[in-house]
């Protein structure tokens, strides 16, 4: 057998992590939701949630350990992120269509049952804080380009902290509205408010995970420019989404 064929058939690349994430997030987490909300089996839901979350987290961490910090010259991650953001925009656009239909078809807006103050000022302040993270992640990226891994990690963690503050303010806003009896099913505006801020919140959770995966390899001095560029694109997108939610829900 020639050297080429030996090389060609020597071994197959494998990893258990995509399988763990795929089945954890795609099979067990949906079942946890259904056991809780459809079948009202709380213990089983909890166990399934633990299995699903455990598989997803283990797989995610293993995946990160295998790939983060692997420096490659194939700069495809930003292109993939660009497309992924496009799909995100379409998803949100679908929900937005629902909001517009309800909003433009309503005889009066906001509908009956909406408090006079839904926390627009608080949301504005929180969003202004959120936007700061676009600058800090920009600085982080600049540090990275200058080869300053520690600086990159520091500013990435500052961005994470800013997002955490925003998330705290969002939860506080929800609590305040819920205390006034303005819960998700009260009217179409409540559905839209909790729906859109909830979607944004989910993106923040995801974004924090994406940012944190950059940090360990940065401290080791190994940075994947392609990956971190994609990461910063996502951070900017989530911030723009926050501004959009603010304008659509609180100031329209």
């Amino acid at each position: 057998m020639s050297e080429e064929i030996k090389h060609y058939t020597a071994h197959w690349h494998t990893s258990p992590n995509p399988l763990l994430v795929g089945f954890g997030a795609g099979l067990f987490l949906p079942w946890a939701f259904m056991l809780q909300f459809v079948y009202d089996m709380q213990t089983a839901a909890l166990v399934t949630l633990a299995i699903g979350a455990g598989m997803t987290i283990m797989g995610g961490l293993g995946w990160a350990a295998e790939t983060i910090g692997v420096i490659d010259d194939e700069n495809w991650s930003p292109s993939a992120m660009f497309m992924f953001i496009g799909t995100e925009i379409m998803t949100i656009g679908g929900v937005l269509a629902g909001y517009w239909v309800a909003r433009l078809g309503a005889a009066s807006w906001p509908p009956e049952g909406t408090p006079a103050d839904v926390g627009a000022n608080g949301a504005l302040i929180a969003t202004l804080i959120l936007i700061v993270s676009s600058f800090t992640i920009g600085v982080a990226r600049k540090k990275e380009l200058n080869g300053d891994a520690a600086g990159f990690a520091t500013f990435t963690l500052i961005s994470v902290a800013i997002w955490a503050v925003f998330m705290y303010l969002t939860i506080a806003g929800w609590s305040e509205l819920a205390a006034q009896g303005f819960t998700i099913g009260v009217n179409a505006y409540a559905t839209a408010l909790y729906g859109f801020t909830g979607i944004h919140f989910a993106h923040l959770v995801m974004g924090i995970l994406v940012m944190l995966t950059c940090v360990p390899s940065a401290f080791k001095g190994r940075l994947s420019y392609s990956y971190t560029r994609a990461m910063t694109m996502y951070v900017h997108f989530v911030n723009v989404l926050g501004c959009w939610v603010l304008l659509q829900i609180y100031y329209w």
């Binding site: 050297e3 064929i5 494998t14 795929g22 790939t67 629902g98 909790y194």
Partner: protein, 559 residues
């Protein structure tokens, strides 16, 4: 080159050998095989559900059940699993994963781990769908999931439906991003955009459509579950929501989904037609532009699914126009397929039988689709058997037959063995005849007014056309069932005991998966990066220069 080709006399060195290598694989071809296994399993489940329905409809009155919920479950499983579990994964999973990276000369997909995750998400979706057969409170709201029914307890487990769609949607979106990057960035040296095989163009375009439209479907079903379980009111008119919003969001994806299926299966036809006829694809560049034209044109046809939902006349007229507009790029593709056969030196191989049969089914389906686009006609036949027969001809049957053609075409590269030629042709003929007997008479029943989705037709017991059509359709089912079963037997026989392939290129293709790889391509596909020399084209069957390879480090390389 010659020192490499055909050096696999013993066993299958191009395939993984251990369970670990199969299950934890990151290789696009093995992942493609996983997609294929999942798709075929889904085909079996959805086919059994269809068979049960057809037997039930064989005569007036209950035949095998009088339980409407069970019939609804079959109907739901057939539609959802056939589209979401079989056709889309077979085309955008198997073909996109197994064939496309090799066809463009790449060593793998752009993101192998994301690719592996995508296939396990697909399997999660399939397992969720299969669970519907055994869980209490199973989902029976069809694959469309329309509210307000889906928001009621009678519809069953709406969350399951939402999760099936979302999980399969996630699989599709990750797969589409991956494939788009693969085609855009991993083409081998020398392969320009207009040197890509049409299968690649069709799969690539279908994935772009997926990227644009799948998220909207995901959003629409997520809102469904939010409404039902968490008290939101997107589709609840009592709090200002709108049920018709769902219909629009759903079809905004689900009509383009027809082209997500149609384009790749036509891509397979192009491949097999060109190779079998030894002809260049007729008007290759115009064909490529026609394929691309599906992206914008498919984005404005969904409203024809709402012709009878109370649209204003001006909108129905506009939608008639936009729906007819899709005939232009589609017609060009059909013309190109026909032109590719014209004056060709056609070899009627097993895959060609399947592809030809699929092509003829497609012609029937396409021609019967034109009147449906006219809103005045559609008013009379909406939700009748005419519509059902049309979409089975144009998408379901022709698509399935084209997928089978593709499996037979690439089978030697998958297994290193050949399928039995007689069985391949016999099953193609049986499937073609059987499905025409199943679906042909139902056009007549539809014209007589037979509505779709009904489990019985007592009210038409005196209508001989409808009763006879149902009867003949059930006879056709038995022929189709045996043919489908034999098809699977033919694959299994071929994989286990088929004649060993003696050539890496048994059909005489010019595409790289046949001309630049071993009988079964191994990890990385090519021993060293492949190069398409100047003047190379996948459909040049006259004087195509041979693909070349970059020298392997430390050797003189192969040329």
């Amino acid at each position: 080159m010659s020192g490499f080709m055909g050096h696999e006399p013993d066993g299958r060195p191009g395939q993984p050998k251990t369970v670990k290598e199969w299950v934890f694989t990151l290789d696009h071809k093995v992942i493609g095989v996983w997609y294929l296994i999942g798709a075929i399993a889904s085909f079996v489940v959805a086919g059994l559900a269809a068979s049960a329905m057809r037997i039930e409809l064989g005569s007036v009155g209950p035949d095998i059940t009088d339980n409407g919920d069970i019939y609804n479950l079959w109907l739901t499983m057939h539609g959802a699993v056939m589209v979401l579990g079989f056709q889309i994964p077979a085309l955008l999973g198997f073909v996109a994963n197994w064939a496309v990276p090799i066809m463009v000369g790449g060593k793998d997909m752009a993101f192998p781990r994301v690719n592996a995750m995508s296939v396990w998400l697909l399997w999660s979706g399939i397992l969720l769908a299969l669970a519907n057969l055994v869980i209490p409170d199973s989902w029976n709201g069809m694959w469309t999931g329309y509210p307000p029914y889906s928001l009621t307890d009678g519809a069953g487990n709406t969350a399951l439906y939402s999760f099936i769609v979302v999980v399969l949607g996630m699989s599709s979106v990750f797969g589409a991003v991956n494939l788009a990057c693969t085609v855009a960035f991993m083409r081998c040296k020398g392969m320009g955009w207009f040197q890509m095989p049409l299968t690649v163009w069709c799969v690539f375009t279908a994935n772009v459509i997926q990227l644009i439209f799948v998220p909207v479907l995901a959003a629409s079903v997520i809102l469904l579950s939010l409404d039902k379980y968490l008290g939101f009111g997107f589709y609840n008119p009592e709090v200002g929501g709108d049920v018709l919003l769902y219909q629009n969001l759903f079809w905004f994806y689900s009509h383009p989904a027809v082209y997500v299926i149609l384009l790749p299966f036509m891509g397979i036809m192009f491949e097999i037609f060109a190779v079998s006829a030894r002809n260049d694809v007729f008007n290759y560049k115009a064909t490529v532009w026609s394929v691309i034209a599906f992206i914008p044109v498919s984005s404005d046809v969904w409203v024809h699914h709402a012709y009878v939902a109370g649209l204003p006349d001006w909108l129905r007229l506009l939608q008639t126009f936009t729906t007819l507009l899709i005939s232009l790029p589609f017609g060009l593709l059909m013309l190109s397929l026909t032109g590719t056969l014209f004056r060709g030196s056609i070899r009627y191989t097993g895959p060609m039988w399947w592809a030809m049969a699929a092509f003829m089914m497609l012609i029937i389906g396409a021609l019967t689709g034109i009147p449906n686009a006219l809103s005045a006609v559609d008013y009379g036949i909406s939700d009748s058997y005419v519509i059902m027969s049309h979409f089975h001809y144009v998408m379901a049957v022709s698509g399935s037959m084209s997928i089978f053609a593709g499996v037979f075409f690439w089978f030697p590269k998958l297994s290193g063995r050949m399928c039995n030629e007689f069985l391949t042709k016999a099953t193609a003929a049986g499937f073609f005849v059987g499905m025409n007997i199943v679906m042909g008479p139902l056009y007549l029943a539809g014209i007589e007014g037979m509505p779709r989705r009904y489990m019985d037709y007592q009210m038409f017991a005196d209508n001989a056309t409808i009763v006879d059509a149902q009867h003949w359709s059930t006879i056709g089912l038995y022929i189709t069932f045996v043919s489908a079963l034999l098809t699977i037997v033919t694959w299994l026989h071929g994989a286990i005991a088929g004649e060993k392939a003696t050539s890496a290129n048994p059909w005489g293709s010019e595409s790289l998966e046949f001309t630049a790889t071993a009988i079964i391509p191994g990890q990385g596909n090519f021993p060293t990066p492949v190069i398409c020399p100047e003047g190379w084209h996948p459909y040049n069957f006259i004087d195509n220069p041979k693909p070349q390879f970059e020298p392997h480090p430390g050797t003189s390389g192969h040329h």
